[in-house]
């Protein structure tokens, strides 16, 4: 069990306030407010298309909100200059769903990329750091000459994790870290998330629809519901609390998701499709 109580009272490192994101006429996020204390591991769960990834990308200012703000240590990320934003982003690590490794570069170049861009370390030192990072995620030195296309999905995810840790980030963002992986590799990634947290003083936000991941790595779980399916002024956040509390939640939409039950969803989908 992770230390939770003492962290809840600290100043939030990330403060999402009344966030609203709309693409064209489609509302994806509606009045989302979250405070994330330093050191916490938050899992954002919810069905596909509910806006989890959009929320995650808004937290690092990759997506601009229609309304509301994201404050990182008191700085509104969507109001600061591009130069300042760059400095703040270096304090983040982002593990993308498909790893997002640069396919024109080797694995070594990929992991060394942030170090070359933002530090003046000599090549030899960078090389040693790269080997160290790869070893941390369980990959051999020989992999550095390979191209991303030569690796399996799990290996790519681990390289992505190694790259995102290169600059010792304070906030780690994981976008569907276990999607598309076999159960064993999924657990390896979960273990790596936990190990990262124990080795570095990081705040982690994990977007996932894998309940095993949410239960295993998170101190706090937040469940989003698709804005298009909400009725009236219903809040988009259905659940915000510890992972153990999910089983006691009485909201049927939460229990359905947690237990992976379709319920009457097929009928609803058929109705929506006019079948």
């Amino acid at each position: 069990m992770h230390a939770r109580l003492e962290e809840d009272h600290s100043e939030p490192i990330l403060d999402v306030d009344s966030l609203h994101v709309q693409f064209g006429s489609q509302t994806v996020l509606r009045d989302i407010s979250i405070k994330i204390p330093r050191g916490q591991t938050l899992a954002i769960i919810g069905e596909s298309g509910c806006g989890k990834t959009v929320l995650l990308k808004t937290m690092i200012a990759l997506i601009r909100p229609t309304q509301g703000q994201v404050t990182f240590e008191g700085k509104n990320l969507h109001k600061i200059s591009e130069r300042e934003l760059t400095k703040e982003r270096i304090r983040y690590g982002f593990v993308f769903q498909g790893a997002a490794l640069f396919d024109s570069m080797t694995i070594g170049q990929n992991v060394a990329f942030p170090l070359k861009q933002h530090t003046r370390k000599p090549i030899e030192e960078i090389r040693q750091i790269v080997f160290g990072l790869l070893a941390d995620v369980g990959l051999p030195d020989s992999i550095v000459w390979k191209k991303p296309a030569e690796l399996s999905g799990g290996m790519q995810k681990r390289v992505g994790l190694a790259r995102s840790l290169a600059l010792k980030p304070e906030v780690m963002l994981y976008d569907e870290p276990t999607t598309g992986l076999d159960p064993i590799m999924s657990d390896v990634i979960n273990e790596l998330i936990l190990r990262t947290r124990s080795r570095y003083p990081v705040t982690s936000i994990v977007v996932t629809h894998d309940m095993r991941t949410a239960r295993k790595v998170a101190d706090r779980v937040l469940m989003l519901y698709p804005a298009s399916r909400l009725k009236g002024d219903e809040p988009q956040i259905l659940y915000d609390g510890p992972p153990e509390g999910l089983d006691e939640c009485t909201d049927r939409r939460v229990t359905q998701f947690v237990h992976g039950e379709a319920g009457e969803r097929i009928m609803e989908m058929r109705e929506a499709a006019g079948v």
Partner: protein
């Protein structure tokens, strides 16, 4: 049974008149044009902002050598053979097309003037730019589009590396700096092709061919073509990178971005060609008002 006054039915509001099919078609037509106008304005505005941001990053900080060299190699070295080959053919085609008309007027010895003038002022720069748009522009859009779809551009952003500075500025510099060299190559090979066909196949006297070429083609004409090519190169880079950055998801989106990069670049090249043609001629006439060269004189 309830007692009291029976509720009176309120008069229903008048129904809007049903539109005839002609009216509906007309209104739809206006709406379509309106949508097209809005989309065009948004696209032009977005592309202009993209170009401004590229300029801003260009003057802010130059890219590292390791990002410049591969782009210069792709744009310059790899485009050279195809530009040289098409330049040669265009020179020969100009000779074939012009010969019969000039022979009817008895001016076949002026063929060199026409071929070389057309090449350095118009066809050399446009041809080099078209080849660049087809070979490099589409590839840039497809590469950046794939990077967008696979979140590699987001990854750059998330690591504090500005994607415009890292991806667009080197491509822009490569196109702007190297397209004059490609234009010179197209001009030269066109000259060689035109000379070979005119002198060796059509049997035009090589002395008069060269003499007339020298008489008509001035340094200004070569400069005129090279200045235009710089604008073409910049346009190709901006349009192609913009299309790549705004690529839609999936293989179809990447394909569409690559096609759009070439089509838009080509349309812009021709539009800029016209605008610069008018502008540069006005400058020339302002600076040298009495300088008139006649094809039939001399």
């Amino acid at each position: 049974m309830a007692t009291g006054t029976a509720p009176t039915n309120p008069t229903p509001p008048p129904r809007p008149r049903q539109l005839t099919w002609i009216e509906e078609a007309f209104f739809n037509w206006i709406a379509d044009w309106g949508t097209l106008g809005i989309e065009f304005t948004i696209a032009v505005g977005d592309m202009s902002l993209f170009a401004l941001r590229t300029m801003q990053w260009l003057f802010n900080r130059l890219p590292k050598r390791e990002t410049l060299v591969p782009n210069f190699y792709q744009v310059g070295v790899m485009s050279l053979p195809v530009v040289a080959l098409t330049g040669t053919f265009i020179g020969m085609v100009l000779a074939v097309q012009s010969y019969f008309q000039f022979r009817q007027l008895g001016l076949e010895t002026r063929l060199g003037a026409v071929i070389n003038m057309t090449l350095v002022r118009e066809l050399g720069p446009v041809l080099a730019a078209t080849m660049l748009a087809g070979r490099v522009g589409s590839a840039m859009a497809a590469e950046l589009g794939t990077m967008r779809v696979t979140e590699q551009i987001d990854a750059l952003d998330s690591m504090g590396t500005n994607p415009i500075h890292y991806l667009v500025v080197p491509r822009f510099l490569a196109c702007v700096i190297l397209i004059p060299a490609l234009t010179v190559m197209a001009d030269f090979m066109g000259f060689v092709g035109g000379y070979f066909y005119s002198v060796n196949i059509l049997g035009i006297d090589q002395h008069y061919y060269m003499y007339n070429s020298e008489q008509f083609v001035q340094s200004w004409d070569i400069f005129y073509g090279l200045i235009k090519s710089v604008f073409f190169g910049g346009t190709i880079a901006i349009v192609s990178c913009h299309r790549g950055f705004h690529c839609e998801a999936g293989a179809e989106g990447v394909g569409r971005a690559a096609t759009a990069a070439f089509v838009y670049s080509f349309v812009f090249i021709l539009a800029i060609d016209l605008a610069l043609g008018i502008g540069l001629d006005s400058i020339y006439n302002y600076m040298w008002p009495d300088h008139v060269v006649s094809i039939s004189g001399g």
